[in-house]
């Protein structure tokens, strides 16, 4: 009976109810997007950092990995020190730089990573194999497209230019042996990877025995903190960053988006609340006669309250369910906009859907639906029966 009354009340003004549900759906879509934005970026970044199992990164003192051109000196000694630390399973050194690849009369600039192929964590082989000898390299699809090369080709690459002698420096002939997906690279980024010593030799004296960062894999996750403390004690001239620290620093840099998510999420809830409160209040005002007759024939005050609360919650929940689909579609669109940030790794998603996000949005909207019904239900239930009956009869 109660549910039938709720249904009758909602369908009495169909246009109004449909508009209210639509309004709540847009608010719910925005709320879901903002919940996804506030947590998705973090989760996506964590997945990226841990994708190859390296929990610690070492960068030059005071910097984040690849944030500046600074490098770590005495790389061989640092590497030995790291390997000697108890709990360290793998140490992967990486040197970043640029290579200039010439084919015919065209020169293509690419990011180059000097790595140890046996322990590298920067790429996954898609076709071919990793470099086995000094003069071999793997490249990204974008690089292959830009240069028009294929596996097995020999490339002429240089590490720099000498404007005074009008000659390239560090020239090498390198054989392309693999096609790779570079995990941390931005979309449409030319990238190649070659053995660390080869890149160091090509870059010459400034890169001799230097690397841009070390990636360290601890033997187990519960030993990460202990290994980190050991590294900081043994190597005070580098900055050791755990995944948690890296995420904190990224959080600081991208705090704008989290705060925007909180503000817009709150505004969405506020708009939904106002919309439903207004509609249900007007609906109750229109039905004062009906409500007071129900009270007069003995319907309990609590039942009237419950009916009005059910109406507001029903509008909120139906709108929320419709809004979830809309939210996923808009999140996809908004993500495609933010994915074009220059230099952002292609694997990062700002809007990452997790079922928990949908439940959070749904729960918040249900709570707001109940809150939105409190005032009109209190108004309907607290009317003096005799006076209201007389007034409604006169009206």
């Amino acid at each position: 009976m109660l549910l039938r009354l709720v249904w009758s009340s909602l369908v009495r003004h169909r246009a109004r109810t449909v508009l209210a549900v639509l309004g709540v759906a847009v608010s719910a879509a925005m709320l879901l997007d903002m919940v996804m934005l506030s947590s998705g970026m973090r989760a996506s970044f964590k997945n990226l950092l841990l994708s190859r199992g390296f929990q610690i990164r070492l960068a030059p003192k005071g910097t984040l990995p690849f944030d500046t051109d600074a490098t770590i000196g005495d790389a061989t000694a640092v590497s030995s020190t790291l390997r000697a630390i108890s709990g360290v399973a793998t140490v992967s050194p990486v040197l970043g730089g640029q290579l200039y690849v010439t084919r015919g009369d065209r020169t293509t600039t690419t990011i180059a990573l000097g790595i140890d192929p046996s322990v590298q964590g920067d790429y996954e082989i898609v076709a071919g194999r990793s470099p086995r000898s000094a003069n071999e390299l793997v490249a990204s699809d974008d690089f292959l497209r830009a240069t028009g090369t294929k596996l097995g080709d020999t490339l002429s690459a240089a590490a720099g230019f000498d404007p005074q002698l009008r000659a390239v420096t560090g020239r090498r002939a390198l054989v392309l042996v693999g096609r790779a997906h570079f995990i941390y690279m931005a979309a449409a980024q030319n990238a190649v990877a070659l053995p660390l010593q080869t890149l160091q030799q090509m870059r010459g004296e400034p890169a001799r025995d230097r690397v841009s960062l070390f990636m360290v894999r601890a033997a187990s996750n519960d030993r990460v903190d202990r290994v980190l403390a050991e590294i900081e004690r043994a190597l005070p001239r580098v900055t050791a960053i755990s995944t948690e620290t890296a995420m904190r620093q990224v959080d600081e840099r991208l705090s704008y988006f989290r705060q925007l998510a909180v503000i817009l999420g709150a505004v969405s809830l506020g708009v939904g609340f106002l919309l439903v409160t207004t509609l249900v209040t007007v609906s109750v005002n229109e039905r004062l006669g009906e409500i007071i007759v129900m009270r007069a024939i003995g319907v309990a005050r609590g039942r009237v309250v419950l009916q009005v609360l059910l109406e507001s919650t029903a509008i909120m929940l139906v709108g929320a369910v419709a809004g979830l689909g809309l939210g996923l579609a808009t999140a996809r669109y908004l993500n495609s906009i933010l994915a074009s940030f220059p230099g952002l790794p292609a694997a990062i998603d700002f809007f990452l859907f997790e079922p928990r996000d949908a439940w959070t949005a749904l729960g918040l909207l249900a709570v707001v639906g109940v809150l939105a019904g409190i005032y009109p239900s209190w108004r309907g239930a607290s009317l003096p029966i005799a006076v209201t009956l007389r007034e409604e009869a006169v009206a």
Binding site: R12, G62, P163, P236, V282
Partner: protein, 286 residues
């Protein structure tokens, strides 16, 4: 023409009574000065590696941070020093990262650009405005994101406004029925509802502008503190106000038109007696 070299340095404060003769000066940014407790005249050691050998220099100037969007999320401190000293400290040799070239006139810039690029080897000359466009790509992305959020907000506002207008005209259906029975034309009634709706929209947008202006003050105060920059993060310009008011006026008129047409589409007697509503209730109950 100026040359610039950028490198990572480590600054360490030392006893200002140190007797070393004739140190050179550097300029540091106000964040570094505040965080390290440095003031003009203090002596510091600058080195290219932490704890490594470096040069003693005197803080000669403290620079205020620029309102540069490309540096807003970066937390590094900035120091400016003599080029030859930095080249020597960083082991860079006779190299620089870039040259900035000033020309006497705009056409001079074009010819200088062509002349430099015709002989360039290993470097390239770019117009400053091209570099500005390239470095502001991040903000173009943020701007597109804000526009998309704005469109969603407009859709939500339009639905909200339409709901409110439907409620308002529903509340006054008896008055409107009486007007129609007195001979007032449908067109006049629709026009009246539209004017009322436009007034609600304009009044709402005026309040929104005031609210937006207050919000922009809070946003600027907050983010200037967070990022330690004089950059303005939110600005309410006359163009934005005009757009907001015009948009809400159009939405208001549209909502008024829809609500008014819905009202005049029903027979006046039904509106007066609430018969159409009773019919809907009976159908719903059935």
């Amino acid at each position: 023409m100026t040359a610039a070299l950028i490198a990572l340095l480590f600054v360490q404060a030392i006893d200002s009574t140190s007797p070393r003769p004739g140190p050179r000066t550097i300029a540091i940014d106000d964040r570094l000065a505040a965080d390290a407790g440095l003031k003009i005249g203090d002596r510091v050691v600058v080195a290219s590696s932490p704890g490594g050998l470096g040069d003693t220099v005197v803080v000669g100037a403290i620079m205020h941070g620029r309102a540069d969007p490309s540096e807003v999320a970066r937390s590094e401190y900035r120091a400016r020093m003599h080029l030859d000293q930095l080249q020597s400290l960083a082991g860079y040799g006779d190299r620089v990262d870039r040259f900035a070239i000033g020309t006497r006139s705009e056409p001079g810039a074009d010819s200088a650009l062509r002349a430099i690029n015709s002989v360039a080897f290993g470097f390239r000359a770019h117009r400053s405005r091209d570099i500005a466009v390239e470095t502001s790509r991040t903000f173009l992305v943020v701007s597109r994101f804000h526009r998309a959020i704005g469109v969603i907000t407009i859709v939500a506002s339009a639905i909200f406004l339409l709901c409110i207008m439907l409620l308002k005209v529903d509340e006054r259906r008896r008055d409107i029925a009486a007007l129609r029975l007195l001979g007032i034309s449908n067109r006049s009634i629709i026009r009246g509802v539209m004017v009322e709706s436009a007034l609600v929209a304009v009044l709402g947008s005026a309040m929104g502008v005031a609210l937006g202006w207050i919000a922009s003050l809070i946003i600027n105060w907050h983010y200037r503190g967070v990022y330690r920059t004089p950059l303005a993060f939110a600005v309410v310009t006359p163009g934005i106000v005009e757009l907001a008011v015009a948009l809400s006026l159009v939405l208001g008129l549209g909502a008024g038109l829809l609500a008014g047409r819905r009202l005049v589409g029903q027979p006046p007697l039904d509106l007066l007696t609430g018969r159409s509503e009773s019919r809907r209730s009976s159908r719903a109950a059935a």
